[in-house]
């Protein structure tokens, strides 16, 4: 059963859904943005600590589907230690990967995030995967307290 869904629900996604990484409130965060997907009610709060343009810590709280939880969990892992510019570049690559704009996925750059490439075949689920990254984008720009994927 569910053979057709193997590309979408990979084991890594189940793993991060069951045991989300960096799932905690960050007391000393200097960026905090709430992301909301009104369509499905997914809601997350992203915390970043940025020192001298480097993301020294990232964490989140919230609830969502397996795709959105795995996506934000993976994201907090991968952006730690990256500069703001590097994180922004990752956001753009991730966005291209999940919306299917780039046929070739640059595996080296995207790394573990490639497990989320499957959402491109499920237009209704793309926003689940990109919510975390749009929230990160807002946190990096440091403009809004909350964003919504309309």
């Amino acid at each position: 059963m569910f053979e057709d869904l193997r590309d979408l629900y990979q084991e890594v996604i189940f793993d991060h859904n069951r045991n989300p990484r960096n799932f905690r409130v960050m007391e000393n965060a200097n960026r905090q943005v709430e992301g909301f997907n009104p369509l499905c009610g997914d809601r997350l709060t992203l915390y970043l600590k940025i020192d001298d343009h480097v993301i020294s810590d990232a964490s989140f709280q919230g609830s969502g589907c397996a795709i959105s939880t795995a996506s934000v969990s993976l994201m907090t892992e991968i952006v730690k230690g990256k500069t703001e510019a590097e994180a922004d570049a990752l956001f753009k690559q991730f966005h291209e990967m999940t919306t299917g704009k780039s046929e070739e996925i640059n595996l080296e750059a995207i790394g573990k995030l490639a497990v989320l490439a499957g959402v491109r075949e499920y237009p209704a689920r793309v926003k689940c995967a990109t919510l975390a990254w749009h929230t990160l984008d807002a946190a990096l720009k440091n403009e809004a307290q909350s964003i919504s994927t309309e």
């Binding site: 059963m1 569910f2 979408l8 189940f14 499905c40 009610g41 969502g64 589907c65 397996a66 689920r125």
Partner: protein, 407 residues
Amino acid sequence: MTTFPIEKIRADFPILGEKIRNKPLVYLDNAASCQKPQAVIDSIVHTYSHEYANIHRGVHTLSVKATDKFEGAREKVRAFINAASTKEIVFVRGATEAINLVAQSYGRPQFKAGDEIVISAMEHHANIVPWQMLCQQTGTVLKVAPMSRQGELLFDEFEQLLNGKTKLVAITHMSNALGTINPVEKIVAAAHAKNIPVLLDGAQAIPHMSVDVQALGCDFYVFSSHKLYGPSGVGVLYGKQALLEAMPPYQGGGDMIRKVTFAETEYAGLPQKFEAGTPAIAEIIGLGAAIDYVTAIGMENIAAYEAALLEYATEQAQQIKGLNIIGQAAHKGGILSFTLDRIHPHDIGTMLDSLGIAIRAGHHCAMPVMDFYGVPATARASFAMYNTREEIDVLMQGIKSLIEVFG
């Protein structure tokens, strides 16, 4: 009751033969929209192939034929809900537009600041937002009658909200998110005892039970064609003649006038006064075909068959550990709204879709209901007369399997 002709009914709906992701379609999203029988599809093809022209115009043969069919559909709707006159049947785009029409044409000219409108805690956004807009325009206040955890209207609390300031009660006949069937006769009686008119949102109720607006005594009743196996883009506003007569038009344009000069316009009588512009002619005639179809089966038979389906589905669902049914009113229509522990409804929706099962996952245009239960969304299986126990078995097996996969 004779045996319900389920096999014949299924054969009448061509889409039920479709494969979805290489699996036979199990369509359980009927509360969002129902599928169409061949008779409705044929009706639309027939109209456009043989009998289409604009209505209420010209003397040419086709226009006369189209007008006859169109007004024939109005008579079918009248008979279906037992309205006193076809003057009380207004064609609109859907139940949503019908409610907006009542808000803007009945409410706006006469409701004042401090007046009150009473709705319930289980309304669809279509029976919330038009009233909020009206409240912003007039200063009228929206009051919300509460419900229990089971999803039943708290009738005493509802009744206490009715007072001299209450100008309208607008309440759903059947909740789309919970399946609750409200005690509408009691609601109408309580409101009328205080001279308060009642609008019933029948969008969910209409395909599941026999509706008699005169027996209900409601002042307005609204529903959409697409949930009654008819075409989309068509809805019905029933209103008591005296109320409709007194209301100004909702939109201006062709077809709703008697005489126009640049100085002034004399409006047409009922129901044309509310039907500006060319309507959805073929779709409205198609709604007539849908009504013929369900009437031939019998609304009582449909209700009894669906009640047995819901009972079976509920029993099966209750046996699944970790499944929580949202909405457990004693009097319910064929809706099974549920959550699964630790599994988001959207994951449920995608997983079931891969098995060919179409359910709805989300807030069902009833965000306040989701807030009440403290969930972001639910999964909802909603049944129609063409669903079977075997399909419910497929659904339950699918749910059990996805619980296993998520671990």
